[in-house]
């Protein structure tokens, strides 16, 4: 190696060091980018203990009329994650993370913030009030997404968990971690109006080779249709 190439190597190392020191989030954040799909993954619901109001809402749930997705509207982020067969694409930038859900064409641009900041900027999805307002930060190997200010909705309208309610008081924390080609989403729902203790749902998403497609949900198509 000659002097010139040594200088270039030294300069490159210094620049890399400075970049890492100046951007700790860049240096530490997990790489979650890519396409992911629920199929082939697992879903686990922890125990839930209803309040009286939570029990009342759950018992009153009617799958033929109460599922917001019948109007192309998201019921909760957990419900969105629970949708099988469709993709989620994650891209990461210095100031935000973007999650594009094929289901209902939901595009979730999440500002990165310092946790505990007073009133940080938050993203939202107009037309989907039950999905609230969200912000995110990195915590070690996890991306943490906090959602507040959701309207009444349902944690799930799927399978045996259909009708589990959420209220306006719910705070949802999603922790996304990756191990190889498996993405794990642990979702903690803290909703003292509906549950006596936090409800934790864990969902895994294998990596997918497919690309996002447009969903183009129309309420006329999504509604429950009866034979004539």
């Amino acid at each position: 190696m000659n002097d010139s190439s040594e200088r270039r190597g030294t300069t490159g190392a210094v620049l890399t060091f400075l970049l890492v020191c100046a951007s700790p989030a860049l240096a530490q954040r997990p790489d979650l980018s890519g396409h992911w799909i629920l199929n082939g993954g697992t879903t686990t619901f922890g125990e839930w203990i209803f309040t009286d109001e939570g029990r009342r809402r759950y018992d009153a749930y009617d799958f033929k009329t109460d599922d917001p997705s019948l109007r192309c509207i998201g019921a909760s982020w957990t419900r969105v994650w629970l949708n099988p067969n469709v993709l989620v694409q994650i891209t990461q930038a210095d100031d935000h993370v973007r999650l594009r859900y094929e289901w209902m064409d939901l595009d979730r641009r999440i500002p990165l913030i310092q946790p505990g900041a007073g009133d940080p900027p938050r993203g939202s999805n107009p037309g989907h009030p039950a999905l609230g307002r969200y912000a995110a930060w990195y915590d070690g190997d996890a991306l943490v997404i906090e959602t507040i200010d959701a309207t009444d909705g349902y944690v799930s309208t799927m399978d045996k968990w259909a009708g589990l309610p959420q209220s306006r008081r719910m705070r949802t924390v999603e922790r996304l971690t990756r191990a190889g080609d498996l993405l794990t989403i642990e979702i903690t729902h803290v909703d003292p109006a509906m549950y006596r203790r936090p409800l934790v749902v864990t969902i895994t998403y294998p990596r997918s080779k497919f690309e996002l497609m447009e969903y183009n949900c129309s309420p006329d198509d999504a509604a429950v249709v009866a034979p004539r």
Partner: protein
Amino acid sequence: MHLTLLRAVPLVLASTVPLLAHHSVPVNFDQSREITIRGVITEIRWINPHSRFRLDVKQEDGSVLEWLVEMGAINTMQRAGFQTERFAVGDPVTIVGNPGRRDRVVLLRTAVLQDGTKLSP
């Protein structure tokens, strides 16, 4: 339009079928049973969240009842290579699937075309 006789045949079926999208399959369909219906396609909608056929089904007394045949999202079926072009309005078809918890609704598991071809989404 020629209509083919319907016979709904409940069968016990061990279910290992995964969830489909949108409204939950276990909530909307009885996956422990399987029925077979035969009729003529009167409408085809290749859409998200659920594609569907309408099917005219002739009863044993000669009357005709419409059935709704639900499927998964068109996005999913396209990725799976489901041959949507094999279906046309006016075609007779046999549908094997799970009965809905609503009246005259079935979730398509296998479609048997007039030439005997079996297609599953």
